[in-house]
């Protein structure tokens, strides 16, 4: 187990190194990075000053070394627009994004799990078909558009929820729902198919023969086992969460890391963008690692060697 954790940690570091390398190479392959590091209306002197200051006149391997050691020390460079360390900005905004997480998870799970279970239990009935239709729409509908439709219905038409920005508890509902929609269809399909598998096993048949109430069989015996594959995919959902945060925060003007990412793109704030991408990668890898390790503890059938 320790060997496994160590191995995974090492893999994570290698992956981060590759991401950093790609960022480094992309900035240089497509022109002078000094152009990306200064405002578009900068004069030639300013540009050269930045170039010298960032060491861009030195050979590539020296630059790479400086870049990588900076990352190790937690120095991701300064944002052009905010004139502050980019990492600092990231961690200032991170809590706002994390505040959306519990509610959006709750919304996604409380819609997806009952629907998936019922669809599997009542397989082939109209309920299953409705669930199937929701999944088809859920996969095909762009989430940014769902967000705008929600704003139209709840903020313009019914006028009951605020259309954006942070504020009281009501401000959380629409963004959290939008963020939740990124995983509803996926979780539901997964629950349905793994429920169908579990329903077919001997121990479920035994429970039913034993005369256990049906709902108890479904919700206790089956669901527990059907949830395992969903937990495995949690790591994948984290990646989806980052994408979801970018889209959701853009629509709802939510001051989290997603919004920060898009601001960096819109203002061509390259140091900030590069910091956000690297830090996102760190978070995704860390969560995936934790999930895999927890999974190994929860499910002893899995062997890691």
């Amino acid at each position: 187990m320790q060997k496994y954790i160590l191995n995974r940690l090492l893999q994570g570091v290698v992956l981060l190194f590759i991401v950093a390398l790609i960022v480094f190479a992309l900035a240089r392959a497509t022109g002078n990075p000094a152009d990306l590091m200064v405002p578009e209306d900068a004069t030639e002197e300013e540009r050269q000053f930045v170039e010298r200051n960032l060491g861009l006149d030195r050979p590539y391997h020296v630059q790479l070394f400086v870049f990588l050691t900076g990352i190790v020390r937690g120095d991701f460079g300064d944002s052009i627009v905010y004139k502050k360390p980019a990492a600092e900005l990231f961690f200032e905004r991170l809590p706002n994004t994390l505040k959306l997480l519990p509610l959006s998870m709750f919304i996604a799970v409380s819609i997806a799990i009952p629907l998936g279970v019922v669809a599997a239990v009542k397989r082939g009935t109209w309920i299953d078909q409705v669930a199937g239709a929701i999944a088809v729409f859920g996969v095909a509908t762009p989430n940014f558009w769902i967000a705008i439709v929600c704003i139209y219905i709840f903020s313009v038409w019914l006028d009951v929820l605020p259309p954006g920005r942070m504020g009281g508890p009501l401000h959380y509902i629409l963004p959290a729902f939008t963020l939740g929609t990124f995983s509803i269809a996926g979780i539901m399909r997964l629950i349905r198919s793994s429920m169908l598998e579990v329903l077919d096993t001997e121990y479920v048949k035994l429970a039913r023969i034993k005369g256990l109430q049906e709902w108890k069989v479904f919700w206790k015996h089956c669901l527990r086992n059907a949830l395992i594959p969903v937990l495995t995919l949690f790591g994948v959902f984290v990646g989806g969460f980052v994408t979801g945060a970018i889209v959701t925060e853009t629509v709802f003007a939510w001051p989290g890391i997603g919004r920060l990412t898009i601001d960096a793109v819109a203002q061509r704030d390259f140091p900030l963008l590069q910091a956000v991408i690297l830090l996102d990668a760190v978070i995704i890898l860390a969560v995936n690692l934790v999930v895999d390790i927890l999974y190994a503890y929860v499910n002893p059938r899995i062997r890691y060697d």
Binding site: V19, I22, V136, F144, T243, V276
Partner: protein
């Protein structure tokens, strides 16, 4: 099944009749609504200049924010209304279909080719090559590719090539994984062993002997991913990192109307409906094709 019946020589003659029967049956089960939507979209995209009633980029401030024709103040001149700058939404939708399909076509071709070749290699060669390629696949799939797309948009500048490159980066890994799985299933067949005994080179076995057997799954994968590509392009354009204006694209049209949802809902809502309809159409058609050609891919 026709093939079950051709056990004796006598029955061979029946096959052609049987085939026709089967074709009729298949046609009956063809998902007609999605097919019609796809045909309309492709037609509109190819013949955009002939079909579009107005120019997609010409602004006419006098006609700005016209509601769709079925609304009380709408006029037949602009069937789906106009946007903030008075551009005809229907015409922009038609030209936007062009952008979506160009991106889908090129990215699927590139991503499919790269992923297909790497998947073949990974599955056939095995060992270190396999581990290396599959690690790269896992990493690509775990990392939100939208971040790479944004990075590309800033470093390379916005544009069609950037979007295609970004989408290709997403696609290759999925194609590589599925192709590899298929190859692993085929590799132990006698025909591969025979080719090896015969002294065929690895490349020949991969491309001449194995590849034709992967082709069906490959076609199914291509169709099933059109929707994903259209959605990704729309998201990128919505976020301002996709197709730059004034070229119309559906995601960008939704973004255009964001500030005006309260007064002019149609600017954002209509392109979104178009995206959803087209993506569902491609997905349903892909599902049908999969059931028809390659039912074992069902878990996808």
């Amino acid at each position: 099944m026709a093939s079950d019946r051709i056990e004796t020589g006598v029955q061979v003659l029946e096959v052609s009749g049987e085939r026709q029967e089967r074709l009729k049956y298949e046609l009956k089960r063809l998902p007609w609504i999605p097919v019609v939507i796809i045909v309309i979209m492709v037609f509109a995209a190819i013949f955009a200049p002939l079909v579009a009633p107005h120019s997609p980029t010409k602004q006419s401030l006098r006609d700005k924010l016209q509601p769709p024709a079925w609304q009380a103040e709408g006029s037949a001149k602009y069937l789906l209304g106009t946007d903030i700058l008075g551009r005809d939404i229907l015409s922009r939708l038609i030209y936007g279909a062009r952008v979506s399909l160009i991106v889908a076509f090129t990215a699927l071709l590139a991503g499919g080719a790269i992923g297909g070749v790497l998947g073949l290699l990974s599955g056939y060669a095995g060992g270190k090559t396999d581990t290396f390629i599959m690690r790269a696949v896992d990493a690509t799939l775990a990392f939100p590719t939208i971040l790479f797309a944004l990075l590309l948009a800033v470093t390379m500048g916005q544009g069609l090539q950037t979007v295609v490159l970004a989408v290709t980066l997403i696609l290759w890994a999925r194609f590589a994984r599925v192709t590899r799985g298929e190859v692993l299933g085929l590799k132990d067949n006698d025909f591969v062993a025979l080719a090896q005994v015969h002294g065929c080179s690895g490349a020949r076995i991969m491309f001449v002997h194995i590849m034709p057997n992967v082709f069906n799954s490959f076609m199914v994968m291509l169709t099933l991913h059109v929707g994903l590509v259209i959605l990704t392009e729309a998201s990128l354009s919505f976020l301002g990192a996709g197709i730059p204006p004034p070229t119309p694209s559906w995601g960008q049209m939704v973004a255009d109307g964001r500030a005006k949802v309260a007064t002019a809902w149609w600017i954002s809502i209509i392109p979104g409906v178009a995206i959803t309809m087209v993506v569902i159409a491609f997905n349903v058609f892909g599902d049908w094709l999969r059931d028809r050609l390659d039912p074992k891919l069902r878990q996808l």
